[in-house]
């Protein structure tokens, strides 16, 4: 079997989803989790776009492209709100993690 470009990028997308998922779960710092969210998102988009590029005769399908652009903007909106929440929370809690995840930090420092 010859490795087609769409197949290669599709598998790359699947790997990015796994990588991002791992990062999302293991990180306690919320900014890192938001970053991982974006990696998963772009992995899904890449998978979606690669699937739309499988038909060599018809060329790339514009409908998934439009959906991906919409998805990128939606992901940006979610990222912006999540990061602003993280900053506002850090101002009051003096921590970049949720209260239940904050035990791994230095207990003597920064806890009001």
């Amino acid at each position: 079997m010859v490795l087609s470009a769409s197949l290669l990028y599709g598998l790359c997308g699947a790997a990015l989803i796994g990588l991002g998922l791992y990062g999302f779960v293991v990180h306690r710092r919320l900014i890192r989790r938001v970053l991982a969210f974006n990696v998963i998102g772009s992995g899904i988009f890449l998978l979606f776009g690669a699937a739309a590029y499988r038909d060599p005769v018809a060329g790339s399908d514009p409908v998934p492209q439009a959906m991906i652009i919409t998805g990128i903007v939606v992901a940006l909106s979610a990222t912006a709100l999540a990061l602003a929440l993280i900053v506002a929370h850090a101002r009051l809690a003096r921590s970049d993690a949720l209260p239940e995840d904050d035990r791994s930090g230095d207990p003597d420092e920064g806890r009001p």
């Binding site: 699947a14 990696v39 590029y53 409908v63 909106s77 850090a90």
Partner: protein, 313 residues
Amino acid sequence: MIASIFDLTLCLVILAAAGAATLGRDAFMAVVFYIVYGILIAMAWLRLGAIDVALAEAAIGAGLTGVLLLAALARVARKAGKEPASAASVPATTIATALAALVITIGIAYAFLTLPEPQGLQGHVAENLAASGAENPVTAVLLNFRGWDTLLESIVLLAALLGIWTLAQDEAWGGRAGLRHVTRPGSVLAQFGRILPPIGLLVGVYLVWAGSKQPGGAFQGGTVLAAVWIVTIMAGLMQAPRVADRALRAALVIGPVIFLALAVAGIFAGAFLVLPPAHAGWLILAVEAVLTLSIAATLAMLVFGPPEPEEKR
């Protein structure tokens, strides 16, 4: 198309950059790698023949998201006052998570490999392109065939902005949005800030104008315009606007308002959001123009953040 050595290398570099961005220890370096990663992904989109997506990914996915992440890191470091808790260090959990992620990856890859023959909508789009009012098929989908998605999406941006404004402290309400200029006069950024705006304005307007025929469009153009505004403020040439500013608020909502009005007007032409083919061309251009203004204003305000108390300068 058969994958070339270039494609293979690009995928490996993408995975390496993503690995550095998600697994690396240092948060700042992780964000830097994320921005690199975004640009690489944009290159992948070029390889997949999706130039519009490549532009959106480079401008929004890599550029704006990167700026947001960097700004959040700086603000949290200032406010949290300590290096926050790092990644979980329980080996068992880490290994279990890695295994789970691997299984999920394999499952998704398997699903991808076993997809049935593609049956895309290229044909449908091509058939109706002439009636859509746009020559670029992606623009035709975004502004006409699936215009309702795009209309809702422009409102999603505003929802995020409202959410961010809600996070302001009460006493800061009505004040200037959070971003302060960070450069001394004469520095590189200040120089950059003088040179960039005219070029950026030109590029942004071109992207919107060209979007109906060639790749580009309101979101890509709006992002470039937002970047111009952001750099101008960072260079100290302008101040960020007050959130209570009437002109600002009008700029934020005008795109979605006009798009919505057009959607309602469509019911007199037959159905919700109908663009009569005879007028669809200029209607799309007009909607894109006002949407670009609103998107640029909204994206810039997303980066500036909520208004901050004046005395904390």
